[in-house]
Amino acid sequence: MANRRQTRNQIRGPHSALTDFLASNNISAAQIHQDHQRRLQEAERQAAVEEEGDVTVGHDEHHHVGELPEERKKRKRKEAVALANIKQSKEFARRKARRTGESDDDDEAIAREMMHERSRPLPGQLENCEACGKRFTVTSYSKTGSQGALLCAKCSKVLADDEKKLKAKKRGARSGRRQNQSNLLDGLIQQGALSLAEMCTKRVADNINDIEEFGDLPSQLLHRLSQILCKRRVLTPRTLNLFLRPGIDSIDIYDAAKLETDDFEKIFTLMPNLSCVNIRFAGQMKDKVIESMLGRNLKIKRLQLDAANLVSDTYWRRLFQNLGVQLESLKLSNLDFSLDDESVEVLCRCCTNLQRLKLKQCWKAGNHSLRAISNLSSLEHLSLSFVQEVHTEILLETISRVSPKLQTLSLEGFSNANDRLLEVVHDNCLTLKKLRFSHNAACSDAGFVRLFTDWENPPLEIVDLSSMRDLDNTNPESPTDAIGLASQGLVALMNHSGSRVQKLNISSCRHVSHSAFEEVFSHEKTYPHLKELDVSFHTVIDDYIVGRIFRCCPKIRKLVAFACFNLRDVQIPIGVALIGSLKAQDPMIVRSAY
């Protein structure tokens, strides 16, 4: 009641939430307005006083004739204080930096210039433009012309545009080197000009927003365009339309993050002949999309989906049942909690013709999935990266059952797997071309030696045994029996696969000794096909070893050597990308071939 009585005496307008908030924080619009008016008036008064002074006396002391000595002293003192203040301001420092190269006594001139500028007309006043002479209203956006007077809105805009152009030009010149360094990190060492097709593809990607349609561009060029656009993250619903052509049987979208559910449905509606589907970062792909896919009876043979974690298990199962035996290749990654063991079992029951299977970062897949995979009898390529721990026995059984036909075996993050897995691989895999087994601290060097000695499998082409090392923090010196791929294992590996190996990744296998590297890359050895080698985190690698690597591997294009601190001044042959060396800015040393 008391509250209401109080308010009755006052007349109030409608209250907004903002007004309440401001009031509660002691902020009043009226107060702000008053303050502003007061400041304006003060400034005007000051300007008027100064103008008066200018009229009667002028700037130079020779002109202060009618002035009393005390007055003059007072005025000069004031001026000196003002100048000193200006000299300490940031704006002054900025201007001085801009005019470097001029004489020192310029300080005084700059400060005086700034002082006069401060007395420039206030916003709201009328003034004549310096450039075109037109009368205009001064705003806080009005720019200063070359002679210190103000410019009208039109001339200000012209000036701003000119400045922008200058800036843009500067950036263009710099980005060349950045682009080169970026290319180097991607392992691209460009020798001579790019191919015309590549250059045009890039140019098309630059102007993607002006393009109405691609016409009958061949599908491999479409693929390349999609790669470039996805890398630049500009594949939007609009640009997607350019790729949807009913005649083509494949679609590759490496970054579908900007596409909505409708766009995915559009893909399957407009391209009824699809047989290869590769869509990554498909975050908005939902049950609805799968349903529309099922309704169209697509003849999909190869399916790769990444990050489609909104699809429910029911729909995964329906999809696998629907595709059935026609499915030859399935790659699913980053599905988080979306694909469970039972769905994988349905997959392995229905899609018995699967030749290629990749399951990465599907959090729910575990022992049951692994057991189900062992029933896939036509499997040729298997890549698994599980989050759940699995029983070693099940893993061993699965690998031994699927291994006879395997060409690719990629196992990441199976931390329980030990030397027995290597034995199974040794005994059962006879047609492997690619072997990846990484992030494991249970296999021993002796195990690798046994794997690579007298192995009936022909030499491997791609080998990734990265991060196979001891991880015991309490024992920084490795145990006496080396854990992971170490000196002997590397020697055995290169003896077995050296003749065919194209890509080799042994990063972080930290127990390989200098002498082992010397032995592997000694004078009489050559690795004729080795193109990419990753030796990151091998601190024993030095300039000598790298020099030997370049001599033993005539085809090498890319050497990754992060954290190889003993690399100082390496002579890099022409056309080779050395990535991760400490001096990233080093120019490429051009040298004739050996």
């Binding site: 191919s195 015309l196 250059m199 630059d206 061949p218 060029l221």
Partner: protein, 104 residues
């Protein structure tokens, strides 16, 4: 083989669909795989004998740009970090088709 090579003139003529002729050094024209195979003396194609390639499906404007690229490629053969050639945006799709056809 060596006699036939020595008898080959240093310049070849590329003719666009709308009748423009471009006379360029043989070595630069052979940047294109298609033209190289056309001009290969062992093929006994009429192009190889006359040294004249008629490219019906490429217009004069595009072929001019293609020839510019051939010279640009020759000039920058042994250099690292070559700046891209300037391609007018309105031409790039047509040029891309031509580049694909010419295997360049």
């Amino acid at each position: 083989m060596s006699s036939s090579k020595s008898s080959q003139p240093d310049y070849v003529t590329l003719v666009s669909g709308d009748g423009f002729e471009f006379v360029i050094p043989r070595s630069t024209a052979c940047v294109s795989g298609t033209i190289r195979r056309m001009l290969d003396p062992s093929s006994r194609f009429s192009e190889a004998i006359s040294g004249r390639c008629v490219l019906e499906n490429i217009s004069g404007v595009v072929l001019e740009k293609v020839c510019e690229y051939f010279c640009y490629n020759e000039k920058n053969k042994h250099q690292a970090h070559v700046p891209d050639m300037d391609i007018p945006p309105e031409l790039c799709l047509e040029l891309l088709m031509a580049a694909d056809y010419l295997d360049t």
